[in-house]
């Protein structure tokens, strides 16, 4: 029941849009920044699928390898074993068709708001009039039409993150990779951003992989929540969220929501399953 990757192992001819199969990542001692002598197993045999247009959250304790998985899906770093297929492509290098949102807005201070949004179009050599118009529309969608010519440092953290969201959407990517994008925001702004993300997803039809530490955020947003265990990260549980869209903040107070929260908490190990003995460490 809680071994979903056994299912995905049995070959299905009708493949999902995104398919992560038995992906492992071991950072060898020599690799990059690692100063420790021992190799680090960041991902251990992680598997899950998602359909086009689905929003899937990756939930797990800090350091369990969620960012590493996103980087592998993006083709930024090589995996040690396993396969990642997005659309029709086996990912071995960046496909150039992803939107990226990081925990920090990571805007370029030397660019105005609109030029930050247009950065991907410049790289893709598609920075034409239509792109500028789309950038304007996106900024309007996130409520920043008055700040088109502003510099990032003139915006609040939440506003900067909305610019980062527009930058991730400007080239109409098929897949959005979001790494704790709202983690640094206050609760209220975060809820607004959640609703904004759901609206954008509805309007663009993009698939989203969404990393978060927040159980309720994961459930509120997702079609499916993938819960990772402690490092080395394995998929501890796949939790389908059967709450109907469009969701609103009221959804948080439905029994189905609470039920999903309980299941996720148990999967994370923050809630001891069944009996009340033993407190979580």
């Amino acid at each position: 029941m809680d071994r979903p990757h056994l299912e995905t192992l049995t070959i299905e001819p009708q493949m999902a849009f995104g398919s992560i199969k038995n992906v492992s990542k071991i950072f060898s001692a020599g690799e990059l920044l690692s100063r420790s002598a021992e190799p680090v197993v960041a991902l251990d045999d992680a598997s899950f699928d998602f359909e086009q247009g689905q929003l899937v959250s990756l939930l797990g304790p800090s350091g369990c390898g969620k960012t590493t998985l996103l980087r592998i899906v993006a083709g930024l770093i090589p995996k040690t074993s396993g396969s990642v297929v997005i659309g029709d492509h086996e990912v071995v290098e960046p496909l150039g068709d992803y939107g990226f949102v990081f925990q920090s807005p990571s805007l370029m201070p030397w660019r105005t708001v609109i030029d930050n949004v247009l950065f991907p179009m410049e790289i893709l050599k598609r920075n034409n009039k239509a792109a500028r118009q789309r950038a304007g529309e996106l900024l309007e969608l996130v409520g920043l039409s008055g700040f088109v010519g502003a510099r990032p440092h003139q915006l609040s953290g939440g506003m900067q993150q909305r610019v980062a969201l527009c930058r991730a959407l400007i080239h109409a990517p098929q897949l959005l990779l979001m790494d704790e994008p709202f983690g640094a925001l206050d609760e209220l702004t975060r809820m607004e951003m959640n609703d904004l993300l759901l609206r954008i997803r509805r309007e663009t039809g993009a698939s989203v992989l969404f990393v978060t530490h927040s159980i309720s955020e994961a459930i509120y947003l997702s079609d499916k929540v993938i819960v990772f265990s402690r490092r080395p990260a394995r998929v501890a549980q796949e939790i389908p969220i059967d709450l109907p869209y469009p969701r609103s903040q009221r959804t948080r107070f439905t029994p189905a929501f609470t039920q999903a929260e309980r299941i996720a908490s148990e999967a994370l190990g923050v809630l001891p399953p069944v009996d009340e003995k033993g407190t979580p460490s």
Partner: protein, 256 residues
């Protein structure tokens, strides 16, 4: 409004007035002869009377300073790019550069003079020597500290190396380059003067030295004053370049 004016102009003026008063007091109380310490008015008189001389000698020093500084930029920036982007070059030269940075380069001035003579070339070499290191070291540091997210963003879009350099790495390093350039221009003035001290027949450093040896202390002080003005002028030039090249940085006056 009024109080801000007082704060911004009044206080600095009061500071200058205080120093002048202290200067006059020392001259008067110590009964010092002009050769030892001329009173401010004598210095001022010398400055006005020998203004043409100060300007022509100052022009020489200014050229040495700016040319040497530009040479340091022109050579330092490409070398910084090479050292920052090539792992072998970085391993070979970065520790060396850091080590050499703390060597007092002006101590090489006499040797440089032996090599290049007393003309403009030796001054350029000395100025270059002192200005080069802060520029290359700071630029390398800047180029190597590009935020990881921005590099990943560019990578995920399959940006070319040239695109990454021009659109991400270099602009992100620009504040570092500017910091290095500000240190470099200050050192460049010192380098020019040292070069002139060691062996020269023109420039404010030479004037300072010859005026002192002729016991014309007021002129020496006037030359010193001219040097300060020159130093401030070239520093402001760099700040102006900063405002043009990096208008997104907060103005220097708001940074402290």
């Amino acid at each position: 409004m009024m109080s801000r004016l007082v704060a911004q102009i009044g206080y600095p003026l009061a500071g200058v007035a205080f120093i002048l008063a202290a200067w006059v007091f020392v001259c008067w109380a110590g009964n010092l002869p002009t050769v030892v310490l001329p009173t401010p008015d004598k210095v001022f008189y010398a400055f006005i009377a020998r203004f043409d001389l100060l300007v022509s000698e100052g022009w020489v020093t200014l050229k040495e300073t700016l040319y040497g500084f530009l040479l340091a930029l022109v050579i330092g920036l490409p070398m910084a790019v090479a050292v920052a982007n090539s792992r072998p070059l970085n391993l070979m030269f970065y520790p060396l550069l850091i080590g050499l940075q703390s060597v007092p380069k002006v101590a090489l001035a006499p040797i440089v003079l032996v090599w290049l003579g007393t003309g403009m070339e030796s001054k350029l070499a000395i100025v270059w020597l002192v200005a080069f290191f802060p520029i290359i070291v700071d630029t390398v540091a800047g180029l190597r500290s590009t935020p990881r997210e921005l590099l990943e963003l560019a990578d995920s879009l399959r940006a070319s190396r040239l695109q990454i350099f021009l659109k991400v790495q270099f602009p992100a390093a620009l504040p570092f380059v500017i910091t290095g350039a500000k240190v470099a221009i200050t050192l460049a003035v010192i380098g020019a003067v040292i070069g002139e001290f060691v062996g020269s027949s023109e420039g404010l450093g030479f004037l300072l030295l010859s005026a002192t040896s002729q016991l014309d202390t007021p002129l020496a002080f006037a030359a010193l004053f001219a040097l300060s003005v020159l130093g401030m002028f070239v520093y402001l030039l760099v700040e102006l370049a900063e405002r043009l090249a990096a208008p997104w940085l907060p103005p220097p006056s708001q940074r402290h």
